[in-house]
């Protein structure tokens, strides 16, 4: 069997003779391991090393009224306290380094905490014990706030706002979409034709990476104006970038040394330690270590997110799965870290390795008052795979078919069209199933044994892919109608929220039509759609002109408000448009849509592209039309 490889990457650095496969090769670093001499970060010794411990929140969600650290300050072994104000730019999100998401997490919480263990004050002392004693002496006056720990509870309109940067308790994709969507074919139609409908719910717990070496970093001033930092990081350049950003230091001053990681599994990408160690070294002029003990690692180290899934399959009597829809909720915890990206990976992975002509998914990245979640061994993929494979067994049961044969029948073959509109290549699931059956002495029918991944792909029923239901722009997203600004934290007003998948009746946006499946989901989740607010499905093909223009107006007013509107409270000056149109509202001529290119020009000239935030643009969202 010939295997096709990407030839465009590293083509001339590689020969495809595969003469290494099947031969044991010695790891280049293993001699250091068996001698116990591989240089883990904690193996670097420094004279006069100081240690960091943090004062942490005992509450899921609380406002910080006051912190009294005078007892700690008076302790002889305490060298320095690090307050939020000592951090030059105390707000970050990991993926801001690649322009994905808004800064939402402080290194030290200043006004409120959103999960148990969130640090509010760091103490640098001459020993771990002294630092711990100092931590225990700190008295924090907490105002406990209501919290939410369940992903679906968090999406309800009256749920407490976990993360002020995302007041809807869900990550905003491209600053506009409250979830990630995949549409391929027409699931609604296909469900109506299916012989069997199989529906089930699955749930995965968060998983701690639990490396044997706990996370940490040691930093020390060098004699050339740089700071050296030995770190357990899995992602050295992430760590440099995050540290440089939070401390407003050019990376040329950061001499980071990593590369020997005592087990990572995704848990060592979050760069939580290096900024404390480096800042501590700068503030004290001495070497500083910040190392988690085992309890901290397990409790405060970011795990893989918990996930909840609802999967609905439409299957035919002969075992073909003709439709599959997903509703998924990823628990990001209190801050984004990498779960927003996990959701994207997940969307790219659906519907699993099976040829299904109608696929739909809506996946939410939800904030709850739990430990933030991050990367962990195939995050975004392995969780949903568990759900998908359980679901496959249920489908097999429903149609009365052998579960392995069901997989062989539906598995991708070379040439099949995937739900992302790329042809499947180098498929091997059928062969894997055959080998697994053989090894476990599981009897397969002759037909299943004779199937092959390289035969029949993209032919016959496998080639029949219905048109995909899209909106008027050819997109499939559920656009956010507007931003609902929340009250800043010091205020007492009630926050207004945009119920997920609904729109509110707003002068700037009007009644936004929703796709029916979203409306159904909204109803199922129990969101209230305002009385008198009708959510209607527009007729299939005629675009609603009125709606389009109302959006054009809304955008104009956004543009104005950004330039001249009321200023947002400091610390809250996001580039998010205010909730209501500014007073100086001017309408473009009523019947003249804004040409796309001029919109683009203006976007460029108006500059609110700080921190990778895109301004919501005009979105004439018409659902239900079909792309030809």
């Amino acid at each position: 069997m010939t295997v096709e490889f990407r030839k465009d990457i590293f083509a001339n650095e590689r020969n495809d003779d595969f003469d290494q496969i099947g031969h044991a090769r010695i790891r280049q670093d293993i001699e250091g391991h068996v001698r116990g001499r591989s240089p883990f970060y904690d193996d670097h010794q420094f004279e006069g090393l100081l240690h960091v411990r943090c004062v942490r929140s005992p509450h899921h969600h609380a406002r910080i009224r006051a912190i009294n650290a005078s007892a700690a300050e008076a302790m002889p072994d305490v060298v320095r306290l690090i307050w939020p104000g000592d951090i030059p730019k105390n707000m970050n999100t990991l993926l801001s380094l690649i322009d994905f998401g808004r800064d939402d997490e402080p290194l030290l919480a200043e006004r409120k905490v959103s999960y148990v263990g969130e640090p509010v004050l760091a103490i640098v002392a001459t020993s771990v014990l002294a630092a711990q004693k100092a931590v225990e002496s700190v008295v924090v006056d907490w105002e406990v706030l209501p919290h939410v720990l369940d992903v679906e509870e968090a999406l309800k309109p009256n749920a407490p706002v976990v993360n002020d940067e995302y007041p809807n308790n869900c990550f905003d994709y491209h600053d506009r979409y409250d979830h990630q969507k995949l549409r391929f074919g027409d699931v609604k139609e296909a469900f109506s034709q299916a012989d069997h409908i199989v529906e089930a719910e699955y749930q995965m717990s968060p998983i701690e990476q639990a490396p044997v070496e706990t996370c940490g970093a040691i930093a020390a001033p060098e004699t050339n104006g740089r700071i050296v930092c030995y770190t357990s990081t899995q992602a050295l350049f992430f760590s440099i970038g995050v540290t440089g950003k939070l401390l407003e230091l050019p990376s040329s001053r950061l001499h980071f040394i990593g590369g020997t990681v005592g087990g990572g599994f995704g848990g060592k990408v979050d760069s939580q330690h290096e900024p404390f160690a480096v800042l501590g070294a700068m503030l004290t002029g001495r070497p500083v270590k910040y190392m988690w003990d085992r309890a901290e690692e397990m409790q405060y180290g970011a795990p893989r997110s918990g996930e909840r899934w609802r999967i609905r399959d439409g299957a035919m009597r002969d075992g073909r799965i003709i439709a599959r829809s997903f509703t998924g909720f990823f628990d990001a915890g209190a801050y984004t870290r990498l779960t927003s990206y996990g959701v994207q990976k997940c969307t790219g992975h659906l519907p699993g390795p099976y040829t299904i002509p109608n696929v739909a998914s809506n996946i939410f990245c939800v904030y709850t008052n739990r430990t933030p979640s991050t990367a962990m061994r195939g995050f975004g993929i392995t969780g949903v795979d568990f759900a998908i494979e359980c679901q496959m067994d249920r489908v097999a049961e429903a149609v009365g078919m052998d579960p392995i044969e069901l997989r062989i029948l539906n598995a991708y073959r070379d040439g099949d069209m995937k739900a992302h509109r790329r042809p499947a290549k180098n498929c091997a699931l059928i062969e894997c199933c055959q080998v697994a059956a053989q090894k476990s002495e599981w009897r397969l029918s002759p037909a299943a044994i004779s199937r092959s991944s390289i035969e029949g792909g993209g032919e016959g029923w496998r080639a029949e892919i219905p048109e995909t239901v899209v909106d008027g722009e050819g997109g499939i997203g559920n656009r956010k109608r507007q931003w609902q600004d929340t009250e800043p934290l010091s205020g007492t007003g009630i926050r207004r929220r945009v119920p997920v998948g609904t729109s509110t009746d707003h002068p700037a946006t009007g009644n936004a039509p929703q796709h029916e499946d979203m409306v159904a989901e909204v109803a199922r989740l129990g969101f209230k759609i305002d009385a008198g607010h009708s959510v209607q499905r527009p007729s299939l093909s005629e675009p609603s002109e009125g709606l389009r223009h109302r959006h054009a107006n809304a955008e104009t007013s956004f543009g104005r408000a950004l330039g001249a509107g009321p200023s947002l409270p400091s610390g809250y000056d996001r580039t998010r448009p205010p909730a209501s149109p500014g007073p100086a509202r001017s309408s473009p001529p009523a019947n003249e849509p804004i040409p796309a290119h001029s919109r683009h020009e203006r976007d460029k000239s108006e500059k609110p592209f700080q921190r990778g935030v895109k301004r919501p643009g005009v979105s004439p969202f018409i659902s239900g039309t079909r792309r030809r």
Binding site: I26, R27, I30, E31, V34, R35, R37, V212
Partner: protein, 161 residues
Amino acid sequence: MMKKTPVTFTLNGRPTAAFADPGENLLDFLRRGVGDMTPKYGCGQGTCGACTVLIDNEPHLACITLAESAADREIRTADCLSDGPSLDPLQNSFIEHFAAQCGYCTPGMLMAARALLERNPNPRREEVIDAIAGNICRCTGYEPIVDAILDASRSYRRSAI
């Protein structure tokens, strides 16, 4: 500030002396006070085995052993295994069987295995599993480690003859 205690002991065959902080555990003492970085910190609560050292030929968890209790004892760490460029059969066997990935648990594993093979150079598989039951490895999986120890036991038997 409480007084430091002088502790004299034998480390990997060499007479050694250092000062222990009050209440300091043997792991910190060896790493910070003596500078032998081969025992590792994984939990500090006696659950992972990364800090395993031999005290008078018996495996002990250094993180829950008081530094003072090392006084006049014979302590061995993974550093005792190799002699300059040449490695112990146990170390060679770990290399050949791919019995380490990140290598963080490895020094502790090696010491637990070493204690077993010195006591019993002809262990059954179950006895090997039993000997490393207190050592957590999060990367490699235990099969290659058990294979490596069993394989090494053959060389230990040969050298014993």
